[in-house]
């Protein structure tokens, strides 16, 4: 009897062993299939548009689209100072901090706080710049930006921007995509998704980098995330070929290129009819755009034709990779109807570890590199009547501490400030932004925001608002729920809107 039972048990075990993970998955098919069917059916609904005659019916994802309401801005130029510039040396003047210079930081500022590098009890570091008030708005601007002082009455400062990320990568992602984690579309992608591209021969979202490095967060800061990849930023170089792999190989005539692209697109169209994958449409329009860009990009990216006085104004040197060149290019791109121009300038991370990354030397050199170009950009846009319809945004990914950095508890060879999330300064100008306004305040040492606090998604909401987009309505269905740039937050910063 026991032998009998043993045999049965063994037979059962063997049968069970034959059931592998494959069997499990196979048996799941019906259930999973039904679940998947639901999402397929949902996405099969035709996207009905209220104004069909005026909206591109061919399904071109980059066709211009009307905004939710009439926008003040047609384009955005976003100047991101990667590494985070010190607000305490540029715009946030704190005479009280100077009095505390070299004194030990009070415990109350350190308790329960976490810093990227500061350990133990650091010393306070007074402002390392000379401040004066400028313009009718009496805005405080330091001597690091002598040219920019003339624009005091043209911009709106946000003095109390806050973030919750104290490392460059996540903070840059948060600043550009609204999330500190990878995978969300960048602001430029959302904007081109919402409004399409004005010029059908150029990308709607162009990225220009300077400072020798791309941002710490990598190319995800201009990625399209879960949006169709046609909306990702196109990086253009100021040195060498503007866009890599865009030129035809030797012996390939433009006609032949056209023929081959037509053929590929025909096949892709069949593919799209069969499967309806929006990525196929993205591919078709990207091939077509690339073909057009072979002519249009070298033209718009060439700054040699600009008159001398413009070069003098911006301080540009053709053929070099520089922030100045990028500023001039930004103006040219916006003039040509590019919707979103994103500039990254690397090298603002002033910890005091070396001369380049120091408050006393490196920061001043970086300021020199941007002072003239930014001022020239604003004035050039203004004289062409473009500042009226172009939103210019300036800022880093966070601010810097009023304390001197003491990495590993040691004194640094140069003056430096650590990453600071609680308050930093950004500014906006143009397209419906108030002129000569300052919103938000920090405490007397510039440590914490006390009034007019602005969250990162408030910045995003405001950018979209000026473009005529309601940040709560600009959504994309993904993984079963609508996503938006401002996620569940975001308030338009109305005090700086005219």
């Amino acid at each position: 009897m026991t032998k009998h039972a043993k045999l049965i048990k063994e037979a059962n075990d063997t049968t069970l062993r034959f059931f592998t993970r494959r069997h499990f998955l196979k048996d799941c098919v019906t259930g999973l299939g039904a679940a998947a069917l639901g999402s397929f059916l949902a996405s099969c609904g035709s996207s009905s548009s209220s104004n069909k005659t005026l909206v591109d019916a061919a399904g071109n994802p980059m066709a211009p689209k009307p905004p939710h309401f009439p926008g003040k801005a047609k384009a955005v130029i976003y100047l991101h100072m990667a590494g985070a510039p010190s607000q305490l040396e540029l715009f946030d003047y704190k005479p009280e901090l100077a009095k505390l210079h070299n004194q030990l930081c009070p415990q109350s500022l350190l308790e329960g706080k976490k810093f990227a590098f500061i350990r133990g009890v650091p010393k306070m570091l007074g402002p390392q710049a000379v401040f004066k008030q400028h313009g009718e708005s009496r805005a405080w601007i330091s001597d690091h930006l002598p040219h920019f002082t003339s624009m005091a009455d043209d911009v709106s400062f946000l003095k109390a921007v806050q973030t919750d990320q104290f490392n460059h990568g996540p903070a840059q992602l948060l600043m550009q995509t609204g999330s500190a984690r990878l995978g969300r579309p960048s602001t430029g992608s959302w904007v081109t998704y919402g409004l399409g591209s004005e010029n059908s021969n150029l990308p709607g979202f162009v990225v220009l980098t300077s400072g020798g490095k791309t941002p710490d967060a990598g190319k995800s800061v201009w990625g399209s995330g879960f949006l169709p990849s046609v909306y990702q930023g196109v990086q253009c170089r100021t040195k060498g070929e503007p866009v890599l792999y865009l030129t035809d190989p030797d012996g390939m005539s433009r006609d032949l290129r056209k023929e081959s692209i037509n053929a590929i697109n025909e096949i892709n169209k069949e593919e799209y009819t069969a499967f309806g994958d929006p990525e196929t449409l993205a591919r078709i329009s990207q091939y077509e755009l690339a073909y057009k860009m072979q002519i249009s990009v070298p033209d718009v990216m060439n700054i040699n034709n600009e008159p001398d006085y413009i070069h003098e104004m911006y301080g540009t040197q053709p053929g070099k990779e520089s922030f100045a060149n990028n500023c001039l290019l930004a103006r040219k791109l916006v003039e040509k109807g590019v919707r979103f121009v994103q500039l990254y300038d690397w090298g603002w991370d002033t910890h005091g570890t070396d001369e380049g990354g120091s408050i006393d030397y490196g920061l001043r050199n970086k300021c020199r590199e941007i002072d003239r170009p930014i001022t020239a950009l604003l004035q050039d846009l203004k004289q062409r009547g473009l500042l009226d319809e172009t939103l210019v945004v300036w800022g880093g990914e966070f601010g810097r501490t009023p304390m001197q950095e003491n990495r590993d508890g040691k004194d640094m060879p140069f003056l430096g400030r650590d990453h600071h999330v609680e308050a930093f300064t950004m500014w906006m100008a143009g397209a419906g932004i108030k002129r000569g306004c300052s919103f938000g305040e920090t405490d007397e040492i510039g440590y914490a925001a006390v009034k007019g606090k602005v969250a990162i998604n408030d910045i995003h909401a405001t950018i979209l608002q000026q473009l005529g987009l309601d940040h709560e309505k600009l959504t994309y269905q993904f993984q079963g729920r609508p996503f938006r740039l401002t996620d569940t937050g975001g308030r338009v910063i109305t005090p700086i809107l005219s």
Partner: protein, 481 residues
């Protein structure tokens, strides 16, 4: 019993079951009344049997509700008169429901039976009234009327809708407390800090009440917003349990915050107008935003009147020329015509714009091949708000034809050879706000002439120059070189 009432936590804990418990007598008593009525008919006679038990449970739950209600009232924070009314009505319900039970038990004793129906009616009335006042205690006494549709409100004549019309046309004349601060407090704070609800013992309906403060002391320190709870609580982090309005309730906007800060720092005055108080530059900006909008401000670039959509046929013709035509906003029939990819657009093609003249408000002809002859058509596009003629061949001899475009706000003539003398004709475009003349042939004298007629017009002739500063070339190094 003594123990229960005096140890705060027990009575409070049990008391808080009152909002739950009260629903039992309400439901059971209503059922009992319905059963009583039904059981009088032959067909439903058998329901008789359920009556004694139902009424007993109803009476017991009513008594339990009274006890828990009393415990809850010890908690405080309720408006006295309303509370008293509710209390007596509640006790009334308990007494009458007990009475009903006794009636039911003794109904075979001759006369008593005929009292059943009137007693049930009294019961229902008492119950409704007690329930209503209970609701008013927790939700505020305008909870019901606030949600009434206007029609019903008129019909019943209760709580007539107070239409929120700005009492001022110019922000300078607005009374700071009455017209600006009070609406903020009404919208954000009154819900909890009112006569009935009295959260934290605080009422905010008038300056006197604000100055009186709550059970934790004063909330207003004159002229020092940073030390006034009324302001301090608003800027606490959202997670903070002391933050006001509490998590989940609509928060105060940045402008409203600035406004409260300013009002308190001015000593929380009443009856003063905006003009009479000193203002920081930031406050000026905030106040500017509160200026009641004129219809034009609301939609700066779109006329108010409705128009028909453009016909698909005219649209197709224009698009065939490379012009981009888009509504200025989704759902609007007003259009923006953009020639960014239409560098071959000519004077002859301008005729294609005429059928769209009712809808066309923004026109960008920058970089196209149009010249002065295009003004014949432009002069007929009378709804134009923005006109961009940058880098075209126009010489502006016909600039006066723009006078017909009475809505024009933005005119860009940068990079054109516009003649100076015709510029003064723009003075008839009364709504014009900005003119761009960078790299045009206009002389400073002509600009000065136009400025004389239109002092408020922004005229940008560009040609900005950045001086060469020593700092432009200074490279900072530690070792002086």
């Amino acid at each position: 019993m003594r123990l229960l009432i005096n140890t705060g936590s027990w009575s409070m804990f049990i008391g808080r079951s009152h909002p739950l418990l009260v629903h039992l007598p309400i439901g059971i008593l209503l059922i009992a009344c319905i059963l009583t009525l039904l059981a009088r008919r032959e067909k439903w006679r058998h329901l008789q049997g359920a009556l004694p038990a139902t009424l007993l449970i109803a009476a017991l739950s009513a008594i339990a509700s009274c006890i828990t209600g009393y415990m809850l009232s010890l908690d405080g924070g309720y408006e006295e008169n309303l509370l008293l009314t509710h209390k007596y009505l509640g006790i009334g319900v308990a007494v009458v429901s007990t009475g009903l039970y006794i009636l039911e038990k003794n109904k075979h004793k001759g006369q008593l039976r005929k009292w059943q129906v009137p007693a049930s009616v009294v019961m229902v009335l008492l119950l409704s009234a007690a329930g209503h006042y209970g609701g008013s205690l927790t939700h505020g006494d305008d909870y019901l009327t606030q949600a009434m549709p206007d029609g019903l409100r008129k019909l019943t004549g209760v709580g007539a809708a107070k239409a929120h019309v700005a009492a001022y046309t110019n922000i300078g004349d607005a009374r700071v407390y009455e017209d600006l601060v009070m609406p903020v407090l009404t919208n954000r704070c009154y819900g909890c800090h009112n006569e009935q609800k009295l959260k934290g013992g605080l009422r905010l309906e008038s300056v006197e009440l604000i100055r009186k403060g709550g059970e934790h002391g004063p909330v207003l320190k004159d002229s020092v917003p940073e030390e006034s709870e009324l302001f301090k609580r608003l800027i606490l982090p959202e997670e903070d349990e002391h933050r006001m309005p509490p998590k989940g309730k609509p928060g105060v906007t940045p402008q409203e915050l600035e406004l409260l800060h300013w009002w308190i720092s001015q000593g929380a005055p009443t009856g003063k107008t905006v003009k009479e108080l000193t203002k920081t530059p930031l406050m000026l900006a905030v106040l500017e935003g509160m200026q009641p909008a004129t219809p034009w401000d609301k939609q700066e670039f779109i006329p108010e009147e409705k128009v028909n959509a453009v016909s698909a046929e005219h649209l197709a013709k224009l698009e065939a020329k490379g012009m981009k035509v888009l509504p200025v906003a989704a759902g609007s029939n007003y259009i923006n015509v953009d020639g960014i990819n239409a560098s071959n657009f000519t004077n002859e093609d301008m005729q294609l714009l005429l059928p769209l003249k009712a809808q066309l408000v923004w026109l960008n002809l920058a970089g196209t091949r149009v010249t002065d002859s295009s003004f014949g058509v432009i002069g007929k596009l009378t709804h134009l708000v923005r006109l961009d003629l940058r880098n075209t061949g126009v010489k502006g001899k016909e600039l006066s034809s723009l006078n017909a475009c009475t809505e024009l706000r933005y005119l860009n003539l940068a990079g054109t050879a516009v003649a100076g003398e015709s510029l003064t004709s723009l003075q008839k475009n009364k709504k014009l706000q900005q003119v761009f003349l960078y790299q045009s042939g206009v002389s400073p004298a002509a600009v000065a002439e136009l400025r004389k007629y239109m002092p408020k017009l922004t005229i940008d002739t560009g040609g900005y120059h950045l001086p060469l500063l020593a700092s432009d070339t200074t490279v900072y190094h530690k070792v002086a070189g």
